[in-house]
Every structure is written in structure tokens, then in C-alpha cells.
Amino acid sequence: MISTRHLKVWVGGAILLILFVCGIAAPVLAPHDPQAQILEDRLRPPRWAEDGSPAYLLGTDNLGRDILSRIIYGSRISLLVGAATVVFAGLLGCTLGAVAGYFGKMTDDIVNKISEIFLAFPFLLIAIALMAFLGQGVINLIFALMLSRWVQYCRVVRGEVLSLKERDFVTAVKALGGKDGYVLLRHVVPNTMASVTVIATFAMAVVIISEASLSFLGLGVPVHIPTWGSMLSEGRSYMNRAPWLTIFPGLAIFITVFGINLLGDGLRDIFDPKLRRQR
């Protein structure tokens, strides 16, 4: 029988896979052009409601745009920003953490001081401040979120490298003539990957919520690109007349983040023997 932790990984992975498929195959899956405005069909309720149209499964917005198509296209931004931020923040954080932990001394001091500045500030506020100054845009958003997330990877990898570099297998590789770069890249860093995978999974969930929050505040991607956060922000003005404008994009964010958190939980349970004992 499949264990709970494996079930979490399967269910979470399946939700993430659906998000990937939606993002990649958006032009095929979306029934309408997400930008097409059909004013005579504006504020049409979902298909099953009274006045609903079979052409619009989840209804339309105030400009007659199809909600389902916009949600499908919106997954592209969540996916792109989420994946790019996790990868770039991971690369930056892991590199700095590994170098600081392995070489120690002044390198460690400098990296620690920089980390302290970033840790002295709530990460979403760093992103809000950066977006306020940089302006809207996908690249700016990824940059702002990356700068606010790298420090988590850095701290964990540094801690793990500090412990790994004292282990016998590292001493053995060094005794066999392995150079620092080789030891670090081939023997130390690969051993931190289990923790990094777990952090990256949870970070993806946080980044997707952060992207939606920033777009909701008008600080994310430009308004003409459909995103779940901006759909929620636009839908607020019509909340009493057309609640589906806010219900469905919010559900999309919730289900995605729930799936990723489930995957993260499952991976953590599998990788962390201490947690496995608690169950």
C-alpha cells in the first residue's frame, strides 16, 4: 500500500504537473483568446448559473474576457516567475552558501554580513520595495523575488557544508589530491541537494503567492498580461455583482500552492529521517 508521504508526493506532483501542462499548452487548452473583449458578453456568470453561457465555463469579466482562458494563461506567469525565481535564487544562494561554508574565514564573514542585511528585513517587503523602484515587469519581478529569497538557500547550504567538510569522505578525497573546487562541486554540494530540493519546493509555493500578492497590489507584471493576482485585483470592484471574478483566480492560486506544499511536505518526510520517526 502507498504510504502517506508518497501519496503527498504523488498528489502534489500531479497538481504541479497540471500547472506545467496548462502553462505550456495554454494556446491549445484555452477556449478563447484571453485578451479578446466581447462587451455584449461582459459579466456573464459561470456556465451552471442562471444566465450562464455554454461558451464560458467560468464566466466572463467586466470587459467580456473569458475567465477560464485568463486563468489558464495566468498559470504561465505563476510558473515562469515561480520556476525562474527558485532556480536563480537557488543558484545564487547555494553558490554563496557553499563557498562561505567551505572556505570560511573572511569569505564567510562577508557572506554572513550580506545575509544579515537581507535577513533584517521581511522578504516580501524587500520585493515590494524593489518593485516600487524598478517598476512593473516580469524580469524585474523575478529579480526582486530572487533578491528576497536567495538568503534561505545560502543559510541552509552554508550550515550543511560546514558539517560536511569535516566528514571522513571529504578528508579522503582531499588526501587523494582532490582540489578544493573539485571536492566542493563533486562531493560536498551534491550532498546538500536533498535539503535544497525541499527548500526549493516550499520556496516555489511562497514565490507564487508573492507574485500574486505583488500583482494584486499593482506592483507585479504589467496589467495587460493576465495573472491570477491582477485578475483578483480587477475583480474586487465587481465583487458583489460578479463574485466569480475573484473566486476562481483565488482558487487557482490556492490549489496550486496547496499542491506544491503537499509535494514539499512529502519530500521532506522522505528525506528527513528524524521526521520519519515522528510519524
Binding site: 517587503l125 523602484f133 496547496f258
Partner: protein, 333 residues
């Protein structure tokens, strides 16, 4: 020099670093605040005149030095959007954010500690699984969406609670602490208390939920960890009642981790306040920050961001002090 002063002095370079980064970013960002301020019908001379008046024609480093000098005296200049002293605007809005933060923290503690501790003690029970599922849902809920849904259902559909603001229009509260709930109680102004309480409920619940979800999970694993310790076996072997083991040994030792997480999550609470205040039009410094960013009021924005950093530092220091009170084995370093 004692440890407290050392911690405060140690924060100064960090805060200076943050203020410098914020200052430089704001000035090299695209868009001119003066053009935005004066609108379209202005001559280049008007813009130049305004830039001179605001000191924006000076080199950046001079402007930063002036900003620091003003900051030391508590005079941050005037807001470009509101044309009021920045410090007055911040102090006027700060109590609302503090009140919301405390209320959210209380919501989080009231939900998370009993649920997490109970799940830990009765681990692998049905209630444990239900509690952990609820916590996972709580972590995954975007708080601005939760806020919007609460407004729609509790405010719009059932008209149970007010959906915006801090108190009903027309109700006055005599200011003492500027925290409406406290002031209305101190002056025995119960209609004001009830109104402020109703206005605070939805924002506090919205902001407190995500924190509660995180703390529930941590509280549970902390209890599980403590329950495996030898001193718990010893306490039971001594014949102590289960109630005594839980209250005096398990709970007290689990509290260190729970307080740490509550402290660490205060940052998330501060960030969350920006979004929650915007959703509920709650007049705190979070909402003010978004207004100042939209208006490119760089003076107000940089002061507010600096203010958030200082608040975060003060709160973390307070959490450190709290550790040594909870666990006398920990010396405040």
C-alpha cells in the same frame, strides 16, 4: 558595554546599509517624482524650481547625508503627496498597524497553540490528521484572497461585519494610546469599542490565519520532540500526573520553539499587513506605503520602508529577551 546596547549598536550598520540601498534605488529608478507631482501643465522652469526647493538638484550623496541628518533629529521632511510632515503621517497611521499586528498575533496564538499542542500530544489520531490538514490549507491560502472572500461573504452577503476602515464614521475616540480598543475601554466608550472590535475582526483573522497555520505545525513537531526526551520519561516514572507532565514539562519546553517561530514570523506579519490593510482599507502604515509607492512619494516610501526595518529589528530583539524569561538556561547574548 552590556549585551542589549551591543545588539542595538550592531544593528546601526545594518540599518544604515538598508537606508542607503533604499535611498539609491529610489533615486535611480525610472520616473521623476516632481513631474508626477506637478502634473502635465508645467514648464521646465517650474520643474527646475521645484527640484531646487526639494533639494533634488543636489548630488545624491549630499541628499542622502541631508536625509540622515534629518532622520537623527526625527525630521524627515514633508511628504510630496500629502504635503504634511512625513513623521506625523507615519505616527498617525502606526497605531492602526500595531493594533492589527497584536490582534493577528492573538488570533494566531489562540488557534495555533492549542491545536498544535493537542495534535502533538495525540499524534496520529484523527484529530491530529484533521488539524494538520487544516494547517496545510491555511498555509496555502493567499491572505488577500481570504480577505476578499470574508468581505464578500461576511460583509456583502450576510452583512455581519463592516468591510473597511478602522471605526464607524462619526464615532470619536479620545486618544490616549491611539490604540482604539484600549482607548475606548479606558474611557469607557463602549459603542466605540464595539465598532473598533468589529472593524478589526476580519483583518486580524485574515492576517492571523497564515501565521496560525505555520505555528500549528511547528508547535506539533516541537511537542513531539520534547515528548521523546528522557526527562519526560523520568517525570512519568516519578508518578507525576499526565496533566502535570503536559503543563509543567512538555508545554514549557515546547514554548522555546513556538516563541522563536512566532518571533520569526513577525516579519511575515509586517509584510502581510501591507496587503491586508490594502484589502480592508485599514488606515495603517502598510496601506500608506502602497499609496506612497503609487504616488512616487519617494520621501514617504523610504521612511516607511526604514520604519518597517526598525520595527522588525525591535520585535526580534524583544523575542530574544523573551527567551531568557521562558528558559532561564538561555543567557541573553
Amino acid at each position: 558595554m552590556n549585551t542589549l546596547s551591543r545588539r542595538i549598536l550592531g544593528a546601526i550598520p545594518v540599518l544604515l546599509g538598508i537606508s542607503f540601498l533604499i535611498f539609491m534605488l529610489m533615486h535611480i529608478a525610472p520616473g521623476d517624482p516632481v513631474s508626477l507631482l506637478l502634473g502635465d501643465d508645467v514648464t521646465p522652469e517650474d520643474i527646475a524650481q521645484m527640484r531646487r526647493e526639494l533639494g533634488l538638484d543636489q548630488p545624491l550623496i549630499v541628499q542622502y547625508w541631508d536625509f540622515l541628518k534629518q532622520a537623527v533629529t526625527g525630521d524627515f521632511g514633508r511628504s510630496l503627496k500629502f504635503n504634511e510632515p512625513v513623521i506625523e503621517l507615519v505616527m498617525e497611521r502606526l497605531p492602526a498597524t500595531i493594533e492589527l499586528g497584536i490582534a493577528s498575533m492573538m488570533v494566531a496564538i489562540l488557534i495555533a497553540v492549542p491545536l498544535g499542542v493537542y495534535s502533538g500530544i495525540k499524534h496520529n489520531s484523527l484529530l491530529d490528521h484533521a488539524g494538520m490538514s487544516v494547517a496545510l490549507i491555511g498555509i496555502s491560502l493567499p491572505n488577500f484572497w481570504l480577505g476578499i472572500m470574508l468581505i464578500y461573504f461576511l460583509g456583502g452577503q450576510y452583512n455581519l461585519l463592516p468591510v473597511a476602515g478602522r471605526i464607524e464614521y462619526g464615532i470619536e475616540v479620545q486618544p490616549i494610546t491611539h490604540l482604539y480598543l484600549v482607548d475606548s475601554l479606558l474611557t469607557a466608550n463602549f459603542p466605540a469599542f464595539w465598532s473598533a472590535f468589529q472593524h478589526l475582526l476580519m483583518p486580524a483573522f485574515t492576517l492571523g490565519t497564515s501565521l496560525a497555520a505555520i505555528v500549528t505545525r511547528i508547535a506539533r513537531s516541537s511537542v513531539l520532540e520534547v515528548m521523546r526526551q528522557d526527562y519526560i520519561t523520568t517525570a512519568r516514572a516519578k508518578g507525576l500526573s499526565e496533566k502535570s507532565v503536559i503543563w509543567r514539562h512538555i508545554l514549557r519546553n515546547s514554548m522555546i520553539t513556538i516563541v522563536t517561530i512566532l518571533g520569526l514570523q513577525l516579519g511575515a506579519l509586517l509584510s502581510g499587513s501591507v496587503i491586508t490593510e490594502t484589502v480592508f482599507s485599514f488606515p495603517g502604515i502598510g496601506e500608506l506605503l502602497i499609496q506612497s509607492i503609487s504616488a512616487r512619494d519617494y520621501k514617504l516610501t523610504q521612511v516607511l520602508i526604514l520604519f518597517f526595518a526598525v520595527m522588525y529589528f525591535v520585535v526580534n530583539l524583544f523575542v530574544d529577551l523573551l527567551y531568557s524569561w521562558i528558559d532561564p538556561r538561555i543567557k541573553f547574548r
